[in-house]
């Protein structure tokens, strides 16, 4: 029952969902950590490498937030020695920013804790998790660990979520993981269509909860874009997950949150809410409080910066006959006509780190996160060299 990558893959996928499920989970449940012991090459990042592997903001949180972190050291640098009581300040700041009440918010150690709590609470042996293939694997990985069934739904044309198909699959589900924009495909479902989908599920399957992961919310440029927080606050069956790890540039600090109906939030907090004596570190609380109170120009600037890099990188691939999916995020999913591993290993040798496999597309597609423009100019030069070589027979 070793949880090695191989062992884990072997333990799943024998149910109704079959091979799809196993390969999906087998891609590795998380961005990385669990497999560190068995795959050391995936961890240590060489200094000087350009990291395009984890959908991080390459710029970081900005001087204002880092000053807040420094201030959080307190008099004589003693504050890190103390349990923190700043949870409420952060919740209040988020409530103000998002126009909700503190009772609508629960904090998490990244949105990871939120995803796990929701999966724990809303799936069961007879209440499956529903998610697209591929999508971010945290919920599916957790459900599999608990022995709860996972019902995978293939993406539609252009790698977009097929809402009709998803609605059908949602019937009788415990939890639907709705990642929008979707990781790793970067595709996006417009606000109106998403709202219709939520209403339909609530109507057709009233006991099904939908977890809407808005991790990449700030990177969307599609005009049909708005948060579903107002829906969640009213509907106990809709939960929004947010993170400071993406546009806010704080992946290293570990802070995320959920917004929802107060009853749903209470359930989540009672099960595993983040607190200053539990999973949340004091620096992250100060950083988060400062970050979310920044002028909206912070995220607007980051969105514009990302968009320019995104346009540049996507055009580079399109010009060479490799059409990426329509990205609304800080990463793209592109058919490179060869196994991702082959591309990844070749890039790594030249100092560029790109993402892991995303089955069932690991033989053809690669996910690339957007670095800075400078980094991407260097990266495409490497991609050009690597892709100029003929792919090995797949």
């Amino acid at each position: 029952m070793a949880l090695t990558r191989r062992g884990f893959v072997q333990t799943v996928g024998t149910g109704a969902a079959g091979a799809l499920t196993s390969s999906w989970i087998g891609a590795r449940g998380r961005e990385n950590a669990l497999w560190a012991a068995v795959e050391p090459t995936l961890v240590a990042v060489e200094s000087g490498a350009i990291v395009l592997a984890s959908n991080e903001n390459p710029i970081g949180p900005g001087a204002r937030v880092l000053e807040a972190v420094k201030a959080a050291f307190g008099e004589g640098g003693r504050a890190p020695g103390r349990y923190s009581n700043k949870v409420r300040d952060l919740i209040d700041a988020i409530a103000k920013k998002q126009g909700v009440k503190p009772e609508n918010i629960v904090l998490g150690c990244g949105s990871t804790q939120i995803l796990r709590s929701a999966t724990h609470l809303f799936t069961a042996t007879d209440k499956p998790l529903v998610g697209t293939i591929p999508t971010y694997e945290e919920c599916a990985g957790y459900a599999e660990m608990m022995g709860h069934p996972v019902r995978p739904v293939a993406l539609g044309a252009d790698f977009k979520i097929d809402l009709d198909k998803l609605a059908e699959a949602s019937k009788g589900a415990g939890l639907v993981f709705f990642c929008n924009p979707n990781n790793p495909t970067a595709t996006y479902v417009g606000a109106r269509a998403a709202r219709d989908y939520f209403a339909r599920v609530t109507r057709e399957s009233p006991d099904t909860t939908i977890l809407v992961d808005e991790a990449y919310f700030d990177y969307v440029t599609d005009p049909d874009h708005e948060t579903h927080i107002p829906v969640a606050v009213d509907n106990p069956r809709v939960i929004i997950a947010r993170t400071f790890s993406k546009a806010y540039g704080m992946a290293g600090l570990r802070m995320g949150y959920a917004i929802g109906h107060k009853d749903t939030i209470k359930k989540m907090a009672d099960w595993d809410g983040g607190s200053g004596t539990g999973s949340l570190n004091v620096l992250a609380m100060h950083a988060g409080t400062t970050a979310i109170q920044q002028d909206p120009s912070f995220t607007a600037n980051e969105r514009a910066r990302n968009q320019a890099v995104r346009d540049f990188t996507m055009k580079w691939f399109a010009d060479r006959g490799m059409k990426p999916t329509e990205s609304q995020a800080n990463f793209m999913f592109v058919n490179i006509g060869r196994p991702a591993k082959e591309f990844r290993d070749a890039c790594r040798k030249k100092g560029i780190l790109v993402a892991r496999d995303f089955p069932p597309f690991e033989k053809t597609h690669c996910r690339l996160s957007f670095g800075t423009m400078e980094e991407m100019k260097k990266a495409v030069a490497v991609f050009g060299e690597v892709l100029a070589k003929k792919a090995s027979a797949a």
């Binding site: 669990l34 991080e56 970081g60 880092l66 804790q113 570990r254």
Partner: protein
């Protein structure tokens, strides 16, 4: 506007911001809610610089080398802990190297609390309950209560030590035994021979029962009969030890802890581990802290001195206390803890919460700095002094500010 490491570090000045971070008890776990908000803390008069000796923290924080390590991570605040240098796996490796074991023997936690919580989730069930001391650290029974799993709380013995015999008896068929050594809040410790015998006898009668030995206060122990149970855990199935950076290492706010044991014992905890549960700052800080044993030895000596001073002052004031092996004292003040706590808070000294079943007689006082404890013991004396109408006014005057 890239914040290069060099530029940032050039601009840094280590005199820290004057904004003192009012810290708070763990133990205020129940949140930001109830206890502390409505409790002693709110009694501290405005403008009074409180002495916070309520949560068994290291009052000095983590030390300069560790703070420098954290500052050094500013350029990597945007990176997930597996992409930072060093990465979180480097922390597991550093801990493994310290104990001369493999990384598979280590599970990292967001503080040791995550590991305690997950141990209850992994090892107890509706039919296999939790055995714990009373009073002892309440995290495990708190989680078991939420899950509706049975709990056997075994009252400490007359010397305020965990009652080994009665805990052994209760362990038969249990899922998990929580053994806090030294025990919070009573500050007592069991020697290594007693612990080995305790584990052996539990395993004889109940081999599937998991024993969690929480050594959060390990670095503060001065009793020569004590030794860490880590070697015992490494050679015994179903036994593991938890440690934390929250106490002697002075990093309670950073949330870093770990469990150590045989690989097969660790597996259920590894499964439940929150992915990337430690920040890049916590990872870097903990690695540097692990390499500075001198700092920990100095902290133990400092604590031992201040602990003896505090104990002596309380005994002179007519109190009784068990021999403390932690950075806190469990003291019989001969009156309800709440009365004592509230009276101290009004004079700026915030001490620990109630610890049933001793809340009518005992308080837990954490050991602050010598300067803090000199002031705090003066407050204790004034509060402990029998109050008559004529001395009341003098007490007010003597209030420390």
């Amino acid at each position: 506007m890239t914040l290069s490491r060099r530029r940032f570090l050039q601009g840094r000045v280590l005199p820290f911001s004057s904004a003192f971070i009012a810290a708070r008890g763990m133990e205020a776990y129940q949140g930001d809610q109830a206890q502390e908000r409505a409790g002693a803390r709110s009694l501290v008069p405005p403008g009074v610089n409180e002495i916070r000796i309520s949560s068994n923290e290291n009052p000095l924080g983590p030390g300069k080398t560790v703070l420098d390590a954290m500052l050094g991570k500013f350029p990597e605040a945007n990176r997930y802990p597996f992409n930072s240098t060093p990465s979180e796996s480097a922390l597991a490796s550093a801990i493994a190297a310290k104990f001369k074991v493999k990384p598979e023997n280590i599970v990292l936690g967001g503080g040791s609390q995550e590991l305690l919580k997950n141990a209850v989730r992994a090892f107890t069930s509706p039919t296999r309950g939790l055995v714990t001391g009373s009073p002892s650290f309440e995290n495990c029974p708190g989680v078991a209560k939420k899950l509706g799993h049975p709990i056997a709380e075994i009252k400490v013995d007359s010397a305020f030590r965990l009652d080994l015999e009665r805990m052994i008896a209760a362990s038969k068929g249990a899922g998990l035994v929580f053994f806090n050594n030294p025990n919070n809040p009573t500050a007592t410790v069991h020697g290594s021979k007693s612990v080995a015998d305790f584990v052996k006898r539990i395993r004889q009668a109940s081999p599937d029962t998991v024993v969690l030995i929480d050594e959060a206060y390990h670095d503060y122990v001065t009793d020569p009969s004590y030794q860490s149970a880590v070697p015992l855990a490494l050679e015994t199935p179903n036994v593991f030890v938890t440690r934390t950076f929250s106490k002697a290492y002075g990093m309670a706010g950073m949330r870093v802890g770990y469990a150590i044991g045989r690989a097969e014992t660790m597996k259920p905890l590894e499964k439940l581990k929150m992915p990337y549960n430690i920040s890049v700052f916590g990872v870097a800080a903990a690695i540097v802290a692990l390499g500075d044993q001198k700092h920990i030895d100095a902290e133990r000596e400092r604590n031992t001195r201040v602990r003896a001073f505090t104990l002596n002052a309380l005994v002179e004031a007519g109190c009784k206390s068990a021999d403390s092996q932690g950075n806190f004292l469990f003291v019989d003040v001969g009156r309800p803890a709440k009365d004592f706590r509230d009276a101290c808070a009004k004079q700026g000294v915030v001490i620990g919460r109630d610890f049933p079943p001793f809340e009518k007689t005992h308080v837990r006082i954490s050991v602050g700095t010598m300067e803090e404890m000199e002031k705090a013991t003066a407050v204790f004396r004034s509060v402990l002094r029998p109050v008559s109408t004529s001395t009341g006014a003098r007490i007010e005057e003597a209030s420390w500010r």
